[in-house]
C-alpha cells in the first residue's frame, strides 16, 4: 500500500495509520505516563533484578537504601552499596511473534493491533529511559531484526516499520513455528519482552535453561471469544491455526469443547511461563497500555523486593 511521505521524525513512515498510531503512542508516553514512569531518581522499571554482581561502592546520599550491603558496611564501618552490571547496560529485546491467529478481534480492535501497540509502547518507553532497544519481528513473511541501539530515531523508525508491516496472509503460514524459543544472538542478560500467542504445545525440556539466560516477560492478548464461545453463531469460519473450515454454532458440545480448549491453553501458557510475574495477559476491554504500565511497575517492585530479600 502506498502512502504519502510523512514529515519530521516520522519521515520514514509509509503507512499513515502506523504514523497515527505512533504519534498517539508518543503523546501518551510524554503526557500521561511519562512522569510517573520516569520521574525522580527512581530506577528504570526495566532494571529489575541484577543479573550480575559487579562491585561494592560507597553509599552516597540519594542512593537506594535498599541496595546497601550491610555486611560490608559493618565490616568497614561506613555504608557501602552493591552495584550490578546490568545497571550500566540493559538491552530491552522485544520479540513480536506476528501470527495469523492474531488477526482477529471481536471488539473494536484486533489482537494484532493491540499487541503491536504494546510492543511499540515498550520500545518507546525503553528508549525514553535510555535503554538499548532491539526488536525481532517474526512473521510468516520472514523475520526482521532491529539490532540493539540507543538511537531514538532508529527506534522510532523501527516502531513505525512494525506498525506498517504488511499483515501476513492468514493461510500462508507454512514453516512458521511461533514458539517463544529465542534465536541465537540475543545478548546475554537482556530483558526479553516476548509478545505473541500461546504456543500450540508445551515447551521442550531445554526451555527452562534457555529461559534462565535472560530475563523474560511474556505478553499476550486475549479476545472475549477465547474466554467464551461467541453468542453469534451459525457461520463458516476459517481457522488459520489448523487451516480448516468449520461451521461455528453454539451447541453444548461446542461449549464443552471450548472450555476444554481454554483450560489446555492456560496450562500450556503456564508451562512456558511458570512465574506469574513474568507473564501478562491483556484483555481487549480496558486500556492495554495501562495494563502494561501497571504490570511493569508491579514487576519492578516485586523484583526489587525479591532482591532485597536475597
Amino acid at each position: 500500500m502506498k502512502a504519502p511521505p510523512a514529515s519530521g521524525s516520522a519521515a520514514r513512515l509509509l503507512d499513515p495509520r502506523a504514523r497515527d498510531a505512533l504519534r498517539r503512542l508518543e503523546w501518551r508516553l510524554h503526557h500521561r505516563r511519562a512522569e510517573s514512569l520516569t520521574s525522580g531518581g527512581q530506577r528504570s522499571i526495566f532494571r529489575g533484578r541484577g543479573m550480575e554482581f559487579d562491585q561494592v561502592v560507597k553509599y552516597v546520599y540519594g542512593d537506594d537504601i535498599r541496595d546497601v550491603d550491610w555486611n560490608v558496611t559493618a565490616r568497614l564501618g561506613e555504608p557501602y552499596r552493591k552495584v550490578f552490571v546490568e545497571e550500566r547496560e540493559v538491552t530491552v529485546f522485544v520479540v513480536v511473534s506476528d501470527e495469523p491467529a492474531l488477526q482477529f478481534g471481536s471488539g473494536a480492535l484486533s489482537k494484532r493491533e493491540v499487541l503491536l501497540e504494546l510492543a511499540g509502547f515498550t520500545m518507546l518507553l525503553a528508549a525514553l529511559k535510555g535503554e538499548r532497544v532491539a526488536l525481532l519481528h517474526r512473521s510468516p513473511a520472514g523475520d526482521r531484526l532491529l539490532a540493539p541501539t540507543r538511537n531514538r530515531t532508529r527506534i522510532t523508525g523501527a516502531v513505525a516499520d512494525l506498525f506498517s508491516a504488511p499483515v501476513p496472509q492468514p493461510a500462508g503460514r507454512a514453516g512458521f513455528a511461533a514458539t517463544p524459543v529465542l534465536p541465537a544472538g540475543v545478548p546475554r542478560g537482556a530483558l526479553v519482552v516476548w509478545l505473541g500467542e500461546i504456543p500450540g504445545d508445551p515447551p521442550a525440556a531445554d526451555w527452562g535453561a534457555s529461559r534462565q539466560r535472560h530475563d523474560m516477560i511474556a505478553i499476550r492478548v486475549e479476545d472475549e471469544w477465547e474466554r467464551a464461545l461467541p453468542p453469534q453463531g451459525r457461520f463458516m469460519a476459517y481457522d488459520p491455526d489448523v487451516h480448516a473450515v468449520v461451521w461455528v454454532e453454539r451447541t453444548p458440545a461446542a461449549l464443552a469443547a471450548h472450555a476444554a480448549w481454554r483450560e489446555r491453553r492456560e496450562r500450556i501458557w503456564a508451562s512456558w511461563w511458570p512465574e506469574s510475574a513474568g507473564r501478562l495477559v491483556v484483555g481487549m476491554a480496558g486500556d492495554p497500555l495501562d495494563a502494561l504500565v501497571r504490570f511493569l511497575r508491579s514487576r519492578g517492585r516485586a523484583t526489587r523486593a525479591g532482591d532485597a530479600r536475597s
Partner: protein, 886 residues
C-alpha cells in the same frame, strides 16, 4: 376439446446449458464466504455445516424452470365445438287481432297472447345460439320479418317490436307455412350437408330444418290453404311444429274506445282450429302443442328445443394459453425454499469490524485486504426475483400483428330510393345498377358489419349493421322506390339517420351513399359536423349520366313537370362530392368507373385505415414477459456463481468430475436439440376420430392383409377392397375429416384389376363412381354465419322449374321495369338454393303443382321490403302538399 402443448420459443431451451455451466463454474471457482476465526476448529469438534446439496438442487431446478418459462410453454386448446347448426328454423307468429285475447296469466294480472308468447320466443332464440332463425309474421297476409340469420340480438329486437294490428286482420295459416317454407328453400348451401350416401342412412335428415307455427285461430284468408302448404312441407320433409295459443271458448278481449283508450274487456268466443294444426304437424312428422297457459307454452318450446338438436359441424378454434406462470411460480417457491442456504453466505458476525472476511474457493482461502465490512446482501438474487415477479404480471407493450383479427369496421349502405333512380340511363336502371353494386360490395367485405339505409324524402334504417347480412340481402334484392311513400331526395334526412345506424362498438364507420344525387336542399351541410364528430366517412357513388333520362311514373307513363314536359333526371355529383370531401371520403361515378366494386372496397378499407381506431384492430399487445424472465435468469445465474455458497473445501481440485460435468452438459445440448425438433413440429390438430372411422380403417387393414396373404386374389376380394375403401371415404367425409387419398386410389386400382378378372361379379361402375366422387375436393364447410355466395350458386335448379306467372300486384310494378324480374329471381336465390328442399321433381307430383303454384304467387309479396311498406303506411302523413318529387 383437444389440448396440445407446445413451446413458443423452443430455442430458449438452450438456456438449460446454464445448469452444467454453473455446476462447472461452481465446482472450480465457486466458494463460500468464511470468517477468519482462529481456533474455531478447536471449539467445534464436529463441524455440522448445513448441506448445500438439496438446496442447490432446488436452485438449479428453479433455473431450469425459468428456462422452460422463457421458452414460452403454451397450451393450444383446440376447441372442437360441436355446433348444433343443423337447425334452421322459421318461427311463424300469428299477429291477428285475436292474439289480443287476454287468457294468459301474467305476473300482474292477465296478459294477452302476444305478450305471453314474446318472452318465450325470445328465450327460445337465446337457447339456440347456433341456429339460423327466420321469422315470418302473418295475419291476413304473411310476411317475412327476418330471413334466416344468426344475428339473434337483432331477431329479438324485431320480436320485441311486434305488434298486433301491424297487418291486415285475418289468419293466413297456409300462406304463413308457405312463406316459411320459401325461407328454408333459400337457406342452405348443399355443401354443408353430409355426402349423399351418408344422408341416405339418416332418412329425411329431419333435424336440419323445421318450422314452428304459432297461431290462435283457424285459417281465414290467404292464397294457400293449410293442407296445400302441408303437402309441400311434407314433400320437402320439413317438420312443422304447431303451437295453438290460448283457450277455445269465450276469452276476454280488451275493448278500446274511439281514441284508442282501453275501456275494459269483453268475453268473445275464440276458436283455434286444433284439428287443422294437428294434421299439419302429424303429416310432416312434427308435433302439435296446445299451449293454453304459460307453462304449457314454455313446455312446448322446450320440447321443440329438445327434439331438434342435430350436431352437424365441427368448428375448430385455436386458443393459445400462455403457461409460463406454471413454471415461474414453482421456480420462485424453490428459490424461497433454498433461501436458508444463502444465509451461509451473508450471515455470521458481519457486524464485527475486526473479523476478516474471506472466501474459500477452488481449494484455497483468500481474504480481502480490508477486513470487516457488513454482510453483503444478495442483490443479484433479489433483482432476479423482482424480474421474475414482473414477468409474472405479464407485461405487455407495443403490439404485434395478429393473423386472425376482427376489424369491426361497419359499413352502412345508403340506397337512394327516390323515383329518379328508376331512370334508365344506366342499363337496366340506376336502381338495379345500385343494387348490384351494393350486393357485390357486401360480398367483397366479408369481415365487415354491413347495414342498409333506404332514403328518399325520408330515411329509414332497413337493416342494422350485422355480420350476417341475410336481411340486407333480402332488402337489396327487393327494395324499390315504391316502398318509400315519401318521395324526393333528402340527404339531410339520410344524414340524420346515418349516425344512429352505426353501433357503439364500431371501430370504423363508413357510409356508402348510392344515389343519383339530386338533392332537394343543401340542409345536409349542417349535418357534416355531426358526421365528422362520429368519425363517419362518406363514400359517394353517383348513378346516372350527365345527359340524364326520363323518370318512369307509377302509372306506367313518364313523369312530367307542371309544363307537361318530361322530367329529365341527371346525375348531380355536387352534393355527393361535398359530402365526401366534408368527411374525408371519396366519390365515384358509376357510369365511368371501371372496377367500381373493387375501387369501392379499397375506398372503404382506405377510409378505415385513415381512422385511428382501426389501426390497432389488426394487432394485439405483445407479450414481453420472456425478456423479464431472461433477465431474471441471467441475474440468477450470476447469483448462483457468486452469491450462493458452494461447499467449502480446502482439500481437492480434481479434474475428472469436471470432465464428467462437461459430458453431462453435452448430453443436455443433445437433449435440448431433440426437444427442439419435437416442439417445432406443429401439433396435430386433427379432429377426434370416431369409432365408425376406426372400424372403417380396421376393415381396410383386414381386407388388405387378406389380399397380401392370398396367393391368387379373386375378383370378389378386389370388389371387397374397393367397397371398404369407398366406405372408409364416406365415413370420414361424413365426419368432415381429411381422407387419405391413397386409400381411395387403392380402391380404384382394385376396381380396375377386379373388373378385368370378372366384370359381372358386382357393381363395379357404382363403386368406381363413389370412389371418384370422394376423390373430388369436398365442398367448403361454411362458417356458422356463412351465407353461400349467390354468385357461385348454380341457378340450374331453379331454371329447370317452370317459372310461374307473376302475381298481378307484382305484375303491375314490373311491367315497366324489366330489371325487377331479375331481381325477383335474385330474391329467391338469396343465400343460395337448397337443392334438396327445392326439388324440381316436386313439380312433377300432380298433387303438389297447385300448392307450389300458389306458393310462387305469394312468394314475392312476402319480402321484408313488402312488410316494410305494409307497416309504413300509417306513419306517413297522409296530406302532403302535392309536389313533384323524384
Amino acid at each position: 376439446m383437444m389440448e396440445a402443448y407446445r413451446l413458443g420459443a423452443p430455442w430458449a431451451l438452450l438456456g438449460l446449458l446454464l445448469v452444467p455451466a454453473l455446476l462447472l463454474w461452481r465446482y472450480r471457482r465457486g466458494g463460500t464466504p468464511v470468517w477468519l476465526v482462529p481456533y474455531a476448529a478447536a471449539w467445534m469438534p464436529v463441524s455440522h455445516a448445513p448441506s448445500t446439496r438439496w438446496r442447490m438442487l432446488a436452485v438449479y431446478l428453479a433455473i431450469a424452470l425459468l428456462v422452460v418459462a422463457a421458452a414460452r410453454p403454451q397450451r393450444v386448446d383446440t376447441r372442437q365445438e360441436v355446433v348444433t347448426r343443423g337447425s334452421e328454423l322459421v318461427l311463424a307468429v300469428d299477429l291477428s287481432t285475436s292474439m289480443l285475447a287476454e287468457d294468459y296469466a301474467g305476473p300482474a294480472g292477465p296478459i294477452n297472447r302476444l305478450e305471453a308468447i314474446r318472452p318465450v320466443i325470445q328465450a327460445f332464440i337465446q337457447g339456440r345460439p347456433n341456429d339460423r332463425i327466420a321469422i315470418v309474421v302473418f295475419a291476413g297476409r304473411a310476411y317475412t320479418l327476418a330471413p334466416l340469420t344468426t344475428d339473434h340480438g337483432w331477431l329479438e329486437q324485431r320480436i320485441a317490436a311486434l305488434q298486433v294490428g301491424m297487418l291486415d286482420d285475418g289468419t293466413a295459416l297456409g300462406d304463413a307455412l308457405g312463406i316459411a317454407l320459401t325461407q328454408l328453400e333459400g337457406s342452405r348451401a348443399g355443401g354443408a350437408r353430409p355426402p349423399p350416401a351418408a344422408s341416405e342412412t339418416t332418412p329425411g335428415n329431419a333435424g336440419a330444418a323445421f318450422v314452428v307455427l304459432l297461431t290462435d285461430g283457424a285459417n281465414t284468408s290467404g292464397t294457400l290453404t293449410p293442407p296445400q302448404a302441408t303437402a309441400i312441407a311434407r314433400h320437402r320433409a320439413v317438420p312443422v311444429y304447431t303451437i295453438a295459443a290460448g283457450r277455445n271458448g269465450p276469452v276476454p278481449f280488451p275493448v278500446f274506445d274511439d281514441a284508442g283508450q282501453r275501456t275494459g274487456t269483453r268475453q268473445m268466443p275464440s276458436s283455434v282450429d286444433l284439428e287443422a294444426l294437428q294434421i299439419m304437424s302429424a303429416q310432416t312428422s312434427g308435433r302439435h302443442f296446445a299451449a293454453d297457459d304459460d307453462e304449457a307454452l314454455e313446455a312446448a318450446f322446450a320440447d321443440i328445443d329438445a327434439a331438434q338438436k342435430l350436431e352437424v359441424q365441427f368448428r375448430t378454434e385455436l386458443v393459445v394459453v400462455e403457461l409460463f406462470a406454471w413454471a415461474v411460480v414453482p421456480a420462485l417457491l424453490l428459490l424461497l425454499a433454498a433461501l436458508p442456504l444463502l444465509r451461509l453466505g451473508v450471515a455470521g458476525p458481519g457486524a464485527l469490524p475486526k473479523i476478516r472476511r474471506g472466501r474459500v474457493a477452488g481449494g484455497s482461502v483468500r481474504f480481502a485486504e480490508a477486513s470487516g465490512g457488513g454482510p453483503q446482501l444478495p442483490w443479484r438474487l433479489a433483482l432476479a426475483a423482482l424480474f421474475a415477479l414482473v414477468a409474472l404480471s405479464r407485461p405487455q407493450w407495443g403490439s404485434i400483428e395478429q393473423a386472425a383479427y376482427e376489424p369491426g369496421g361497419e359499413v352502412v349502405i345508403a340506397l337512394d330510393l327516390s323515383r329518379s333512380m328508376l331512370a334508365a340511363d344506366l342499363a337496366p336502371s340506376r336502381m338495379d345498377h345500385a343494387r348490384r353494386v351494393a350486393t357485390a360490395l357486401v360480398e367483397q367485405l366479408p369481415d365487415h358489419r354491413i347495414g342498409l339505409v333506404g332514403f328518399a324524402g325520408s330515411a329509414t334504417l332497413l337493416a342494422p349493421p350485422s355480420r350476417d347480412p341475410a336481411l340486407l340481402r333480402a332488402y337489396l334484392a327487393s327494395i324499390a322506390p315504391s316502398h318509400l311513400r315519401r318521395q324526393g331526395t333528402d340527404l339531410a334526412a339520410l344524414l340524420e339517420i346515418a349516425p344512429t345506424a352505426f353501433t357503439e362498438e364500431a371501430a370504423a364507420r363508413t357510409l356508402v351513399v348510392l344515389s343519383d344525387g339530386e338533392s332537394e336542399s343543401a340542409a345536409w351541410r349542417d349535418r357534416l359536423a355531426e358526421l365528422r364528430s362520429g368519425s363517419i366517412r362518406v363514400i359517394g357513388v353517383g348513378f346516372g349520366t350527365a345527359a340524364g333520362a326520363p323518370v318512369p311514373a307509377e302509372d306506367g307513363g313518364w313523369l312530367r313537370d307542371s309544363f307537361w314536359s318530361f322530367v329529365q333526371s341527371r346525375l348531380d355529383l355536387d352534393s355527393l362530392r361535398g359530402l365526401a370531401e366534408g368527411t374525408g371520403g371519396a366519390v365515384f361515378e358509376a357510369a365511368v368507373t371501371a372496377d367500381l366494386v373493387d375501387q369501392l372496397r379499397q375506398a372503404v378499407l382506405a377510409a378505415e385505415d385513415s381512422q385511428s381506431i382501426t389501426v390497432a384492430a389488426g394487432s394485439r399487445p405483445a407479450d414481453r414477459f420472456p425478456w423479464f424472465i431472461a433477465l431474471a435468469l441471467l441475474l440468477l445465474a450470476w447469483s448462483v456463481a457468486r452469491e450462493w455458497p458452494a461447499r467449502a473445501r480446502l482439500d481437492r481440485v480434481p479434474a475428472a468430475p469436471a470432465a464428467r460435468l462437461l459430458l453431462a452438459g453435452l448430453s443436455m445440448v443433445l437433449l435440448a436439440g431433440t426437444l427442439d425438433a419435437q416442439v417445432l413440429a406443429p401439433p396435430r390438430l386433427a379432429p377426434p376420430v370416431s369409432e365408425q372411422e376406426k372400424e372403417a380403417f380396421a376393415a381396410i387393414i383386414e381386407v388388405v392383409a387378406g389380399l397380401v396373404e392370398e396367393p391368387a386374389p379373386t375378383a370378389a376380394d378386389y370388389l371387397r377392397l374397393a367397397e371398404v375403401s369407398a366406405e372408409y371415404g364416406l365415413v370420414h367425409r361424413g365426419h368432415a375429416h381429411p381422407i387419405s387419398e391413397g386409400v381411395l386410389h387403392d380402391g380404384l386400382a382394385a376396381v380396375q384389376v377386379g373388373r378385368q378378372l370378372d366384370a359381372a361379379i358386382g357393381d363395379w361402375d357404382g363403386v368406381e363412381a363413389r370412389l371418384r366422387r370422394l376423390l373430388e375436393p369436398p365442398p367448403p364447410v361454411p362458417e356458422d354465419a356463412g351465407e353461400a355466395d349467390p354468385a357461385n350458386e348454380p341457378l340450374d335448379a331453379r331454371r329447370d322449374a317452370p317459372v310461374p306467372q307473376e302475381s298481378p300486384a307484382e305484375g303491375e310494378q314490373d311491367t315497366e321495369q324489366p330489371g325487377e324480374t331479375i331481381e325477383q329471381e335474385r330474391l329467391r336465390n338469396v343465400g343460395g338454393t337448397r337443392s334438396d328442399l327445392y326439388d324440381p321433381a316436386e313439380w312433377r307430383d300432380p298433387t303438389l303443382v297447385m300448392p307450389l303454384h300458389l306458393l310462387e304467387q305469394i312468394r314475392g309479396t312476402a319480402s321484408p321490403a313488402e312488410l316494410f311498406r305494409a307497416t309504413q303506411a300509417p306513419a306517413e302523413p297522409a296530406a302532403e302538399p302535392r309536389r313533384q318529387l323524384w
